[in-house]
Amino acid sequence: MSVTTTSSRNRSPASPKDYGYANARIRGMRSRLLSRTFLDGLIAEQSVQRLVQEMDGTEYTSDLEDALIHGIDATSVDVALRNNMVQTFQKIMSFLNAEAEYLVTTLLGRWDIFNLKTILRAKHMHLPLDELKDGLLPAGQLTPVDLEALAAAEDVRTVVDIAVTWGLPMASALREGHAEFMRTGELASLELALDRYYSEWAKARLSRRGANMRMARKVLATQVDVANLVMVLRLQSADIETIDVDQYFLEGGADITRELYMVLSKMSDIDEVLERLRGTPYGRALDDVSIKYLEQNSISVFERALEDLFMRRTLGIAKGDPLGIGVAVSYLWAKQNEITNLRIIVKGKAVGMPEDRVREELILV
């Protein structure tokens, strides 16, 4: 087990160093991210084989060569892409200064929660292992090997037991959530425990002073706001008379206060929620997709719009901060976004998805 969440990664940012070296290096790496035109070219390819050939000469070449020894298929390409992301993230972590590493580790912690939730959901719904692996993105502290071991667990209880045995930082939250899960049978209690753990853990870690801490807090606050808004929107389709909506509120947001959250969650329909959010930074993004929502009648339209907004904000954070943590955070999100987009394209090609549909699925390119 190679989780480092509790020891070396928790070192204090007492001696911040120069960001010049790391930021210049990251900018160099950023210049090699794939362009929109290149992605369009990949979408236009007729098969996964042609797509792999097209990617020759990019950052992914060596990972593709390693993964495609046994034949070219979507699963192998997916493995190559994930390997590339893990290596890129490890490379960045290796040259970040103490403060930057501390901040990035905190912000990337969301991926550990995301992966754990994916595994718990899959176990709860008895999904096949291959399908579960497709949903994992090893961008946090849990390595692909850790995730594989967790994914191989028999059921929800085993996942929790493994987390406790490994001494993962979120183990206590998982244990508490599991007790509630056993009582109610609702997986939401486990997910809520994880979300709450992360928002409190990250908030505590980012409570120190300094411009970089402030910037990381801003990213975290937007993330928490988005999570709270998604919850509000989901509650619209639930019977809130029987639910204690307050328990789903996560502390640490910027614009969505507990009061606003309570007001929003008690509103009778989506239009009212959108109207009330108009004065907040999230109003426009939600308004822009309101017609699409009417067409599709699915809350996921709003969820996607909020995720896109969060991504856009995080990608743009480097613009105001050329000599701080913003460059690293922005690149890590951009890289993760690129990998997600490539995975969408590869999966789309493998199942014969129409080009327009693939383009629609891509995130902010």
């Binding site: 010049g20 070296y21 790391a22 930021n23 210049a24 290096r25 160099g28 040259f95």
Partner: protein, 112 residues
């Protein structure tokens, strides 16, 4: 020391010296009042300050550019020419300080 505080300190010192050097030069011209040897001391101090602070400022700038340049070269070796040019640019600061100190030292001292 916090990097922002260090940058402020270097900037402040440079600003102070740019103000101080002409003042000391004027002081050197007013040797009728202070006498010949005091003028030499004042000129030597002014020249030394002009040279040393500009050299420190250039060093600070080159350290920053150097670390960023090393980072750039690690990922984009093709940018080496640009990195060398940028690395050399702060030398101008120390050259200007050198010129200023030469001018101060060569300033004529009129006997009282």
């Amino acid at each position: 020391m916090n990097k922002n505080r260090l940058a402020k300190w270097v900037f402040g010192s440079t600003f102070l010296v740019t103000m101080l050097v002409p003042a000391m030069a004027f002081a050197a011209e007013a040797e009728a009042v202070v006498g010949e040897w005091q003028s030499y001391v004042a000129k030597a101090l002014a020249a030394g300050l002009a040279m040393s602070v500009s050299a420190l400022a250039a060093g600070y700038a080159q350290a920053k550019i150097g670390s960023a340049g090393a980072g750039t070269l690690a990922e984009r070796p093709e940018a080496s020419v640009w990195v060398i040019v940028l690395q050399a640019l702060p030398e101008i600061i120390v050259l200007l300080g050198f010129v200023a100190s030469i001018l101060i030292v060569n300033m004529p001292v009129t006997p009282a």
